[in-house]
Amino acid sequence: MMEHIRTPKVENVRLIDRTAPRKAMVGTLYLSATHTIFVENNPETRRETWVLHSMVASVERPPTTPSGSHLVVHTKNFQVVQLLIPQERDAMDVQASLARLSRPEKYSELYCLSINPNANKEEREESWSFLDLQADYRRMGVPNNLWVSTPANSEYRVCDTYPSELFVPKSATPPVIVGSSKFRSRGRLPVLTYFHQDTLAAICRCSQPLSGFSARSQEDEQMLEAIMKSNPGSDYIYVVDTRPKLNAMANRAAGKGYENEDHYANIKLQFIGIENIHVMRNSQQKISDVGELKTPSMGDFLWGLESSGWLKHIKAVLDAGVFIAKAVAEEGISVVVHCSDGWDRTAQACSVASVLLEPYYRTMKGLMLLIERDWVSFGHKFSHRYNHLEGDPKEVSPVIDQFLECVWQLSEQFPCAFEFNERFLVQLHRHVYSCQYGNFLGNSQKERRDMGLRERTHSLWPQLWKDRAQYANPLYRADHTQTQGILRPNTTPYCFK
């Protein structure tokens, strides 16, 4: 990376406080292989400001003024760092260096892969065994006489974006599993993600069926039938399509679409209407623009908030979770959730539902496990969505941001129900983008295995756990009424902020 640094050090740089532009710190700017560092000259304070290159979203250089060149650095976690550099030449060099450093072209350029993996070999190995997904399935009582583990996806044979270990209904035979996977977009067949022991209802996830206008698959129909049978006493299941109905219908023209209720016995189809990643990307752009208005009036702000649509989208995600949680806990009906590919909106809906249903997922370790299961293991495309490498900007979208915000909104409504505080969520958000740890690199379990991330990087989870004292919510008590049982949030618009 060092070869991309044109100027490693610039002196007499001013770091400008955005809220009080007249106040500024004078100091020296350093560019290292991993960070931009600003050190204040004042010998008494020597305040340091560090910005990790992978957190940099953009570097703008407004027209040069007599006092020098401004550089405005936006980070992916919404920080804005404004610098004033005396020489235009230096400013251009810094901008060019940062532009390159913040957009690595290969995984090997990332911070977590730039360290010597064997420096702390034991610690590294131990860090990856901190979470045990299989143990979490056992905690929910899986496998059991209704749900079993299948070897079908070992070596990622039926679906290369799924984990190798999958849980399916006991009555689903190997031909049904393989047949169903062939009838689903990218092979993402319906499999178990959450099992509710109280009602024996389950949440399953998959991608859209390749139904087009009339195609059908006996095996896929049998698969959904098997899912229903794995919930003794129920005579139908919900299929939750998290897309707006129009989008789902449009997909039929491309040979995809949604389940035809005439072909599948005993399903009830429900559309939720979460918008796609492109709408969400634009919405986030708009809302962060609102945050940067110079001196907005209250009206400007509320109008901007409204026209960004951000809270509307958050509500849609939460509503999806509420629908699923209600079906599972109150009606005792199993739910199959999908969107198009089943790795964005589906991940959001399933994980919000889990948080509502299961007190354990409202603890620190529980939330880690939930992210590890519904997001990491089921092939949420972290590197594409969070722009880890220079790539297609149309793939970028704040999908997990929205999940974390849903959890935050819930924690605002139920201040005693969560073991962790806001800082924990902010920290998670940061590390999704930072690439300081190997957890969120790549786009699927298979990719991570092929890269050998466990051998080459550290895991984030034990680090967060070590610092858990600063992430604890003082109001949380395991025996509090808000802590127990399922959460029934109010999703009336005024509850969102």
Binding site: G291, P296, S297, M298, G299, D300, F301, L302, W303, L305, E306, G309, L311, K312, K315, Q413, F414, P415, C416, P474, L475, R477, H480, T481, Q482, N490, T492, P493, Y494, C495, F496, K497
Partner: protein
């Protein structure tokens, strides 16, 4: 007055009461001169719901009596009650709670509705409930009010060489809305004050309301000068203001109207301090809304909060449309400006708008909260309200006659005091450790100001309160809130006093809707209340452990 003549039906059996957070309840409804009483005997346990009639802002009734009519004209109709007729009364309260009563019998229903309509809007002060409220624990001999202007003055020794306590208004003749004693510059005698009062609307001549110990600068407040269309001057008024700065250079006047509004005010006899006559004073205009605009804003906001059907977009657009948060924003921004003039730039400031009884008080009291740690304790805050609102003559009875649900034609209503409480809540939210009092106190005040067992918020001025015998014949809310039994509930468990000024952020994203008040009756509020309780327990536990 005899209340009974307005109560045709005093008791009805088998009424169903529906209210937030409780399942419907069947029982007996009873109307008294000041209350609705609902009781239900369920086996051994009996429950009682008491509602102050004054709290009712609007009443809506609907009756179903189709079969009732036919039986009226049938041969047996005279003797038989129309058993199927019934009515529903919806009560919308000033504390924003909405209740519903299902009453069997159309006539009973209409009678009760009529009684409520009449008794909830009594306007003779001495008929109001505080004059009848006689709890066992309180005595009318208890002290009324927290302190007097004399005591306040005596406590502030450091200002006494430049400022004096004037009793020029002891019989309320100079300014009917001022208290009998006010603080003015030492060099200005009472005779001058009388002349100044004639030059200010309502006689509200400039008086001291805050002395900043750190630099000796002061906040003064008054009403507008009566310069009129031909730019009249008043030598004494100029002298008084000159004495305020006393050679310290420059003072600021914060006019809570826009420049244009101030110009227009001249047409109706009002005006502003012109540069040429008051050369040492610099005027700043900041437009704060008042009166009808503010009341309508509250009505729109409450309407938006009560509508559960709409989408996020519509909610946000209604919230914006109500402009309530914009009013919060402007009030805090202006108070911040005032505090900045005093603390950072070291200037004395005079605040006024037109009457000087609404926006002026809002801005001056918020600025004091920002600057003065003494006003941030529980006692200090209530003291501030007493000085800056009750004694300073905010017309509570006019402003709080009706709240957001009323269908009555707007007269002098305006939720200025609620706006103050909202701004204080915003401050407390931004500085969770700085305030000695808690959100429940603000909520309690927001309720009491509209309907109360206590006499504190009755009438429009100190003079009226004295004339009505409020201080002898009713109990004082502030004294009650400071009793040991109440004090704990209204204290902030996280309180850690700071001597520093607390500068609020007035970025729009820093201001929030005050859910505790406006969404008080939704499930939402219950979870948050539990959290408050948990927090309190936690702090008590920690204190116990250490």
């Amino acid at each position: 007055m005899e209340f009974s003549e307005h109560i045709k039906t005093a008791n009805v059996e088998d009424v169903v009461l529906r209210r937030p957070f409780h399942p419907p309840m069947q029982g007996t409804l009873c109307v008294t001169g000041h209350h609705l009483l609902f009781s239900n005997r369920d086996g051994d346990s009996s429950r009682l719901v008491l509602l102050l009639l004054r709290n009712i802002d609007a009443i809506e009734k609907s009756v179903e009596n189709l079969l009732g009519y036919s039986s009226l004209f049938s041969s047996t109709g005279q003797s038989q009650r129309p058993s199927v007729s019934s009515g529903t009364i919806t009560l919308k309260c000033k504390d924003l709670c909405v209740l519903q009563l299902d009453i069997p019998g159309m006539e009973e229903c209409l009678n009760i509705a009529r009684s409520i309509e009449y008794l909830s809007s009594l306007d003779i002060v001495s008929d109001m409930y505080p004059f009848f409220y006689r709890p066992l624990k309180l005595s009318l001999q208890d002290q009324w009010g927290l302190s007097s202007p004399e005591q306040n003055y005596a406590q502030m020794e450091e200002l006494q060489d430049r400022w004096r306590l004037s009793h020029v208004n002891k019989d309320y003749s100079v300014c009917p809305s001022y208290p009998p004693a006010v603080i003015v510059p030492h060099s200005i005698d009472d005779e001058t004050l009388v002349k100044v009062a004639k030059f200010r609307q309502g006689g509200r001549f400039p008086v001291l309301c805050y002395y900043h110990r750190k630099n000796g600068m002061v906040i003064m407040r008054s009403s507008q000068p009566l310069t009129g269309a031909n730019r009249k001057r008043c030598r004494e008024d100029e002298l008084l203001l000159q004495a305020v700065i006393d050679g310290s250079g420059l003072g600021y006047i914060i006019d809570t109207r826009s420049n244009q509004q101030a110009q227009q005010a001249r047409m109706t006899g009002g005006g502003f301090e012109s540069k040429s006559s008051y050369s040492c004073w610099k005027r700043l205009h900041r437009q704060l809304e008042r009166g009808k605009v503010l009341q309508e804003s509250l009505i729109k906001l409450v309407e938006a909060c009560g509508d559960h059907s709409h989408s996020v977009d519509r909610w946000l657009s209604k919230l914006e449309n109500s402009k309530w948060l914009s009013h919060v924003h402007t009030a805090l921004a202006t108070a911040g400006l005032l505090a900045e003039c005093v603390e950072r730039d070291g200037h004395s400031v005079l605040v006024h708008g037109s009457e000087g009884t609404d926006a002026t008080l809002l801005v001056s009291s918020l600025a004091q909260l920002i600057l003065d740690p003494n006003t941030r304790t529980l006692d200090g805050f209530l003291g501030l309200l007493e000085r800056e609102w009750l004694l300073a003559g905010h017309p509570f009875q006019h402003r709080c006659a009706h709240s957001a649900y009323s269908h009555a034609r707007l007269r002098l209503e305006a939720p200025v005091f609620v706006l103050l409480l909202d701004c204080v809540w915003q401050l407390a939210r931004q500085f969770p450790l700085a305030m000695g009092f808690s959100e429940p106190l603000l909520l309690r005040l927001a309720r009491e100001v509209y309907a109360s067992d206590y006499g504190t918020f009755l009438c429009n001025s100190d003079q009226e309160r004295c004339a009505a015998g409020v201080k002898e014949r009713t109990h004082c809310l502030f004294q009650f809130l400071l009793k040991p039994s109440e004090r704990e509930h209204y204290s902030n468990p996280l309180y850690e006093p700071t001597e520093l000024a607390i500068w609020p952020s007035i970025q729009p994203q820093s201001l929030q809707l005050w859910r505790g008040l406006f969404l008080r009756w939704t499930q939402h509020a219950v979870h948050l209340e539990k959290a408050q309780e948990e927090l309190r327990n936690l702090v008590i536990e920690c204190r116990g452990a250490s």
